[in-house]
């Protein structure tokens, strides 16, 4: 039986899921801020009457954005300070990304990958830009509702429109992200690692060979791998036995 390699720290796992849950709530209530749910009978589903009331929907939207903004800001600062830029695109990612996607549907062979797949790095920047635009325009909306800034009529219109349109882009990006993970079996171990933080050694060796070599190959990195294992044991999981 193969061992396991630590892929994500608990902080990264938390970042992902806080963003995912608050993002889903924001998407749903964001759609509710458009006049949709009453027209499409959603508000008539038992338990969903609140979706027909703009004040309630906006209150939930605002509340979810507490967590969303916090995690966006945390993500930017935490990983920048730690100089963790592995998710930023590299040269050749477009070509290799296409090869990865083609391999998912059974055409050709996947190129060797680092910790992240090339297509993941491209997707990260895409969704990152969308999230940044949503966050900035959302914060501007909060500030002008607080009357801490006064926007000229044109700026207020443009800001609102950018927020609404990027909201739609976020919805598309979210659907594509979830679909790619769920529809292709080759991605399922990645989903598991997004919950546990750990990934099968075999999987890492095959799909992320460059990263695997870095973790396993260099003598000094073996030490790091052990540190990671010990750290997880300290965090109180049974995971230390999985090694």
């Amino acid at each position: 039986m193969s061992g396991r390699i630590k892929r994500h720290t608990i902080i990264e796992v938390l970042e992902h899921w806080v963003m995912a849950v608050s993002g889903i709530v924001l998407l749903f209530t964001g759609l509710g801020c458009l006049p949709l749910f009453k027209r499409y009978y959603i508000a008539e589903i038992p338990g969903f009457a609140w979706t027909g009331d703009f004040n309630t929907v906006t209150t939930v939207h605002y509340t979810a954005s507490i967590f969303f903004l916090m995690v966006v800001v945390f993500h930017i600062f935490y990983h920048s300070i730690r100089k963790e830029f592995g998710l930023l695109p590299k040269k050749g990612d477009v070509k290799n990304g296409i090869r990865v996607v083609l391999a998912m549907i059974g055409i050709g062979k996947e190129p060797p990958s680092d910790k992240y797949l090339p297509e993941q790095r491209i997707a990260y920047v895409g969704i990152g830009i969308i999230i940044l635009l949503l966050t900035v325009t959302g914060v501007i909306k909060i500030l002008k509702n607080l009357e801490w800034i006064v926007l000229s009529p044109i700026c207020e219109s443009v800001n609102t429109m950018v927020h609404t349109l990027t909201g739609f882009l976020f919805m598309i990006a979210f659907i594509v992200h979830v679909a790619i993970v769920l529809l292709f079996k080759s991605n399922w171990p990645l989903l598991k690692s997004m919950f546990t933080g750990w990934i099968d050694e075999d999987y890492a060796r095959h799909r992320h060979s460059i990263w695997y070599e870095k973790v396993k190959g260099k003598p000094e990195d073996k030490g790091i791998s052990e540190i990671e294992v010990k750290e997880t044991c300290r965090e109180g999981g049974d995971t230390c036995q999985q090694k």
Partner: protein, 327 residues
């Protein structure tokens, strides 16, 4: 010249602010206000049509909707809002009638109340429109951009007085997915935006004064003067004031001899579409803004947590996994 990082930040902020804040933007309240003295309004009983209504219709006739027929229902619903066959209706607000004179009977006496958009200081319609079709102007008026409005009618739902009115079969939605999204264009009083930008008074104000001279129902002017006048008359004549605190403050003040609670009760009894509730909270101020402050605070907390967390974790992994983490 060398620019320090701090200097660059200050210059950028300054430039950005100049884009955001117009020099003549009257922060929140807007420049003008209207006093509507209903102690003087007789509903133009001797006229065929109230003068303010007539002037408003004349002023805005060119902007009235000309819907393309047949009009599609709002799928999956089977309904749609079409006022185009009732253009002559003047006793309520419609897309073709942006002001009307409401009648309420209290203790056997008739009271006449000209009703139109209140032009709130922090208007829920403007703040809530998902397409940015509504804007608040420095003059204090809230304006619908007919070219951007999808006709979802959210503005009507969030307006405490449900003022904006919808006409289907017109607007930008016809060019997108007319069957599935959008419902027309919303229409309401914009305080004669083109006139007041030129320094002229709204058409209704002028028409009323032409009939009643010094005893006119409407007084339009600088907000500070209008608020001062309203409060002075309230004190001196023992009148009741409406619009100064409702929904967090508006640019339209009503003066009445009868308490507005009684007027509202009469309107409720009459089952009028448009009421005058006295206790009107501005949801943006009372509900959303406290959460907004929490959002901003937690943003800063996220930053602080990230800095502290990153420094601590770096110490824990001293001499550690740079190569791996750099990927």
């Amino acid at each position: 010249m060398d620019i320090t990082r701090r200097g660059f930040f200050l210059i950028s902020t300054g430039l950005l602010s100049s884009l955001i804040i117009k020099e003549n933007a009257h922060a929140v309240e807007g420049r003008y206000a209207t006093l509507v003295d209903i102690t003087r309004c007789d509903g133009c009983s001797s006229e065929q049509i109230p003068k303010c209504v007539e002037a408003c219709r004349e002023q805005n006739r060119k902007r009235f909707p000309e819907p393309k027929k047949p009009i599609l229902p709002y799928w999956p619903r089977k309904t749609y809002e079409d006022w185009s066959d009732r253009r002559d209706k003047i006793d309520t607000l419609t897309p073709y009638n942006w002001i009307f004179v409401q009648k309420a009977t209290i203790e056997g006496r008739d009271i006449f109340i000209p009703r139109r958009c209140m032009h709130c200081d922090n208007p829920p319609c403007v703040r809530g429109c998902p397409f940015g079709a509504l804007t608040k102007r420095p003059q204090g008026n809230s304006v619908i951009n007919e070219g951007l409005c999808f006709g979802g009618a959210k503005c009507r739902d969030v307006c405490p007085w449900h003022i904006p009115q919808r006409q289907a079969g017109v607007g930008i939605y016809l060019h997108m997915l007319p069957k599935y999204a959008g419902g027309g264009v919303m229409y309401k009083c914009d305080l004669c935006k083109d006139r007041i930008e030129k320094g002229e008074e709204p058409a209704c104000v002028v028409a009323c004064r032409q009939r009643l001279k010094d005893n006119a129902v409407f007084t339009f002017g600088e907000r500070r003067d209008i608020y001062g006048l309203a409060k002075q008359r309230k004190e001196k004549e023992g009148l009741y004031l409406y619009g100064d605190i409702q929904n967090g403050g508006t640019s339209t003040l009503y003066l009445s001899k009868v308490p507005f609670e009684a007027i509202n009760r009469a309107l409720i009894e009459k089952k009028d579409r448009f009421k005058m509730p006295v206790d009107v909270k501005n949801k943006i101020q009372t509900t959303f803004n406290p959460i907004g402050k929490a959002v901003l605070s937690m943003g800063f907390m996220g930053m602080a947590g990230a800095i502290v967390g990153a420094i601590i974790s770096k110490r824990v992994h001293k001499g550690g996994d740079e190569d791996v983490r750099k990927d």
